[in-house]
């Protein structure tokens, strides 16, 4: 059975499911599978006052901050390495300095555990003691307490995260709405999807229902709210087995983003002047094709 109601355009996926003030979780790790097409569409839709919680997704977050889409950011690491060394996120740094965004620094595990709590349907979750970190003085919502089961044991509790929407880019959706992220192990992406009220996915391609094996289904259709087919939807970041990091474009962005004026030029030329992701790709060119690594053994077994 095809659930055509889930399939939509990138424009509608963003405009019908995200509004001003939405609490948004953006998937992606460093320069791997950031949902850049959806991020650009959020910017084109001129969404404002978003509360964003993010994986270490520097490029996406820096652009959303520069475009004034974000009012509050919860994060644990922003930046990435390129051939030019460490890329610090300049729009993030500047917005933080002039206080145009509210910054809530967290820790990777605290955000993951908060998402687990959201997925499990419980109000908070304990973490092992990490007293001594000044994160506990800036995060009033993280509480230090004795374990109710062992008075010698101190725990730190973090409240559950239940963002309004998850934005994810993946490889394949079937026509029923099952989503396949082609990476070796993706169970935490499912946990994240379970924590979020709505799941929005852009995909490289759509296949017939029942062509995915059950163990290929990262997020089952009943947890997915909207899907937009967007080939190369992670560009200029990479997608496993599909395309490489577009270093040329990322370097161009980093150079532009050093100043407010340079960022504004980038925003106008590469996002606002491009009505959709296809025109963005026409402008910057397709990314380097995936460089396939030969198996180690001659029998083809990895």
């Amino acid at each position: 059975m095809t659930d055509s109601s889930k399939f939509t355009s990138l424009s509608q996926l963003v405009r019908q499911n995200i509004s001003n003030g939405s609490h948004v979780y953006i998937e992606g790790v460093l320069l791997n599978r950031s949902p850049m097409a959806a991020v650009h569409e959020i910017i084109r839709a001129k969404l404002r006052k978003l509360r964003v919680v993010s994986a270490p997704n520097g490029l996406a977050i820096d652009q959303l901050i520069g475009a004034n889409a974000i009012t509050e950011l919860e994060f644990y690491f922003l930046g990435f390495m390129t051939q030019n060394g460490f890329a610090a996120m300049r729009r993030f740094r500047e917005a933080s300095k002039n206080e145009s965004i509210r910054v809530k620094e967290s820790m990777g595990y605290a955000i993951c555990m908060a998402l687990r709590a959201g997925a499990f349907g419980i109000p908070f979750i304990p973490l092992p003691d990490f007293r001594g970190s000044d994160l506990l003085s800036i995060r009033q919502d993280y509480q230090t307490m004795q374990s109710p089961y062992d008075k010698a044991d101190t725990i730190i509790t973090v409240p559950a995260l239940r963002p309004d929407v998850l934005v994810l880019h993946a490889h394949i959706a079937d026509t029923k709405g099952n989503v396949y992220l082609n990476e070796p192990w993706t169970n935490f992406t499912l946990t994240t999807a379970q924590a979020c009220q709505k799941v929005l996915v852009t995909v490289e391609e759509v296949r017939e229902a029942e062509t995915l094996e059950p163990n290929q289904i990262t997020i089952p259709h009943f947890l997915v709210d909207a899907i937009a087919p967007v080939p190369y939807g992670a560009v200029p970041t990479a997608l496993n087995n599909r395309y490489e990091i577009d270093n040329t474009h990322i370097t161009l962005y980093q150079e532009k983003a050093q100043t407010a004026q340079g960022f504004e030029e980038y925003l106008q030329e590469y996002i606002q002047a491009c009505p959709d992701h296809v025109s963005f790709l026409e402008k910057i060119g397709l990314p380097p094709p995936w460089r396939k690594t030969e198996p180690l053994r001659s029998d083809g077994h990895k």
């Binding site: 460093l30 051939q83 595990y109 000044d134 994160l135 990479a238 690594t293």
Partner: protein
Amino acid sequence: MTQLSRDYTFDELILSTLAHQLHDGDRVFTGVASPVQMLATLLAQATHAPNLLYFTILGTINPKPHALPFSTGDPHLFDRCENAITFPEIFDLANNGRMDVAFLGGVQIDQFGSLNMSIIGKNPDHPNVRLPGGAGGPLMIRSFRRVVSWRSNHSHRSLVNQVPFVTSPGWIPAAKGRRHGGPDVIVTDLCVFQFDRDTHKISLKSIHPGVTLERVKAQTGFTFKIPAKVEITTPPSRREIEALSRLDPDNIRNTLISPLQ
């Protein structure tokens, strides 16, 4: 500039020094923006530590990429991996004492081994400079058995007496009597510092060939114990140098690590 014999380069010295901190059989994690630490781990695995189990930030276990990527989030780190888990599961393993070594960095590192990855400036609400963030450090610094830090640009600005903001707490005296942790070793582009396992005090372990003790003292923002006889950092072996050229055929190590001017 650091003078080196023509037998090896500065990047090879740093990478082998980092690799020497890892033992055979260790379960090792490298995190965000850590291609140097990644290459050092792959080097240890290719030489003296063949049974080292390597976990990347993407969750892959024992990846064999065709070339070293700049980004530790490059999906080529899924290539030919033995297995994979997910990011929070690496913390889960460490919480249960199942992980050995984490590489953790700090924009600023102090005499206690506390790491600042958050802000420069006194007031957290009005930072002069917002840093990238501490990633998994605040908990990993105590949930892993050992922590190794690599800090380039050794100066009194990066190696400070006391960090203004503690992202990941080291061997701070206030933490005595409760579960705490900190780095075991800090490798810089001038020397290697180590923390005593019992007293947690920092001392100089070795200085890199061609570096003087006076220079290390002048460029360090804290005082440190100096042993009666200061060792010279062991240079890389021929085998290690050959392994590095196999693991990093594009020679990005030369871009990632430069001698301190």
